[in-house]
Symmetry: C2
């Protein structure tokens, strides 16, 4: 799973500049890439070298030059092969769990404080995600099926955050119960 495939995927919707791609990739909560310059611009150089995208340099009177990339037939072929190849399983990187390893160092009150503060952070994240989804549920081009897919892609991080919130509340309420009976 490299950023090249995501770049090619975005180019299916039409030609885009490196700057466009970098913003699209960076803005997406669903994709694991930050969309930093090094990532996107070097990916485009590689894709062009491999003939998977074509490049058109636009010299304009207003603003700096733009390099606009278009996916080639070879690019579509390569992309389709990758899309249908085996999908890697998800990985969930949850720093809260690393903290909990050392919970023994904390009093009941401190542990509750830690989890409470985290629950608040998580709620704020959920609100942000809900707001983002309300505003723009992905590009409005492409087939109705593809538009549905974009909704689904954008919805996914929210569902994960919800699942985490449910888990967290269970843990907190369990820890609030008197004491000793730590079995589920």
């Amino acid at each position: 799973m490299s950023v090249e495939n995501a770049v090619l995927g975005f180019l299916l919707g039409g030609p885009l500049s490196g700057y466009d791609l970098k913003k699209l990739i960076g803005a997406s909560e669903s994709l694991p890439w930050s969309g930093n310059n090094n990532q996107v611009y070097t990916a485009l150089v590689q894709l062009h070298r491999d003939g998977l995208v074509s490049k058109e340099t636009q010299e304009r009177d207003l603003g700096p030059i733009r390099k606009v990339y278009t996916i080639t037939e070879e690019g579509k072929q390569a992309l389709k092969t990758w899309v249908m190849s085996e999908v890697e399983l998800s990985e969930h990187r949850m720093p809260i769990l690393s903290h909990l390893i050392s919970a023994d160092l904390l009093s009941d009150a401190e542990l509750d404080e830690l989890l409470g503060a985290y629950a608040e952070q998580l709620q704020m994240k959920i609100l942000t995600l809900e707001e983002m989804q309300r505003r723009e549920a992905g590009p409005s081009f492409g087939s109705s099926r593809q538009r549905f897919i974009w909704q689904v892609i954008n919805q996914c991080p929210l569902e994960m955050a919800h699942a985490e919130a449910v888990w967290l509340e269970e843990v907190r309420s369990h820890l609030k119960r008197p004491r000793g009976n730590a079995q589920q």
Copy 2:
């Protein structure tokens, strides 16, 4: 969130060798580190240099030498400060979403095949996680609260996988419906 803090956390349960730590960290589904040599052994060198762990070299007649590490008071102090510091939010790296970006390249049948194969993979993962949890729900040392915490830590990846499976089934059943009505 660096592997050093996880190492210190494990050492709260008692002295361990680099090899022990590497296995513990690598075996844990909940922690984002692979537990490779470079990671763990260099982390221990650093922690020792900083005085957060003490080292005891055991020369034994059977097998190679072992270096056993113990967390120091300074180590506990530093660890507690980190534990109570702001927790980073979770990140969910889901390669399936990267594939879905390019779903436009696929026919209905191909998309269904892709999602079906992934659903199977995910189910197998869930079975493995359930089996792992049945066998060993974390170390059996420490307070009852800490044992509960270990259960919770181990349960978390399973809950995330369940949430993903629910999401996936919704998507699949929606895509199976006749066609055209892509709105939720």
